[in-house]
Symmetry: C2
Subunit: 240 residues, 2 copies
């Protein structure tokens, strides 16, 4: 059965130091929405063993699935695989398939210590292969361990997406040229009537005047359309 | 004394659904780096009371300070203030200063139910005012409650930045035209010699060839320059 809820664990000092703008959770968020898997949490943490272990153990307990991003390369700051093995209390093993693929590609003499690091996965993992890279990601339990480099992350995620969600969300946005406070009470009442539609209000400005958006989303097209109609009628009544 | 570590708690379904690309934690990450406060974690969670309470209580226990972003407007999905009051086990009160400011601006008849919501803060809070908005943010204990709209968030954050960090980080990046695996072992040894410098390696591609970056940062300029020199010498030795 497809995962209904998921969390994303981004492992990377480069994001926390402001060097790099987070891109992978953003990509996954859009894909999960399209497929109807609820993204329940994103956590961004440093390349630190204890932070990885404790955060991963919390998230994999709390949600159907966890995607991790980053820290699976050959350098000293790539400690995701060994930390996840520790979180599951299993050995970190050299996977024979990856050793073979690396040897085929780089030759036996090209399999240096750094590349050897990349052949290691937590014992019991299944590999997540994609055409963008020789070193694959891995799945253990409900945890999917993917790369941090965006074009590889995206390719790996696309290859496992069919395991996430099975009833797409749809979203309709309504532009509003009224201050939020004028329709807040009426919108609260509508939300109460439509508990299967998520209604959000996002203020903005067009010059000096307010112009925000009311954003409705649901897995039920009929109910979504009904809620949109109700919001539109409410806004017309307030404006007139 | 200035906060040495901080976490950011982004509260917003619009980010988790992929509608909006996260911008506020990214802005804050850059500012904290410049000031020398370590951003230790970013958590993005939905507009849900229990998620806000449990995540906030974990983060404020774990780090010197927490910045929250989002959920302080007038609509039904704005539940940050009441959830944080619950997390601190204090009352949510109408703050007389905000009531006055709103009344001055909108008139007594303009202070409708939606705007009235925005006068409420957890009891014991200090206000965080900025010129971009009438409704201020609030500080309670080590938690700073800021807006989700980016231009307001940025203005509010700028107004409290002097409480975060007191010894700026600096960063130097070195471009590398070698595959990571060729210098991974040598870089590990350098990192071991420089525990006051954070060294990260970020692979990339220039056409078919690898061309990544080694990124060094530290609060100690002298040590940073020494580490950069050591990495450059190492790279020259491998390339020759």
């Amino acid at each position: 059965m497809a995962h209904q809820t998921a969390a994303i664990l981004v492992i990377g000092n480069e994001v926390l130091s402001g060097r790099t703008r987070e891109a992978n959770a953003y990509y996954a968020a859009g894909k999960f929405f399209e497929r109807g898997c609820k993204l329940s949490e994103v956590a961004i943490i440093p390349d630190e063993r204890e932070a990885i272990i404790s955060t991963l153990n919390r998230l994999r307990e709390q949600y159907d699935a966890v995607i991790t991003s980053g820290g699976i390369g050959p350098t000293h700051d790539d400690i995701t695989m060994e930390s996840i093995a520790a979180a599951f209390d299993v050995e970190l093993i050299e996977h024979s398939f990856i050793v073979q693929a690396m040897t085929d590609h780089f030759g036996a003499e090209g399999l240096n210590e750094g590349r050897r690091r990349m052949t290691r996965v937590p014992q019991g993992s299944k590999l997540i292969r994609c055409e963008k890279t020789i070193a694959p990601g891995a799945r253990i339990g409900n945890v999917y361990i993917l790369a941090g480099v965006p074009y590889i992350f995206e390719s790996q995620l696309d290859s496992i997406l069919d395991q996430f969600g099975d009833r797409p969300y749809q979203r309709i946005e309504i532009e509003v040229e009224l201050p939020e406070s004028l329709f807040a009470k009426a919108l609260t009442a509508i939300q109460a009537d439509f508990d299967d539609v998520e209604i959000g209000s996002y203020p903005g400005r067009c010059g000096p005047d307010p112009c925000g958006k009311i954003c409705l989303s649901s897995q039920d097209t009929e109910r979504l359309n009904e809620a949109v109609k109700t919001v539109n009628t409410m806004l017309e009544n307030i404006a007139s």
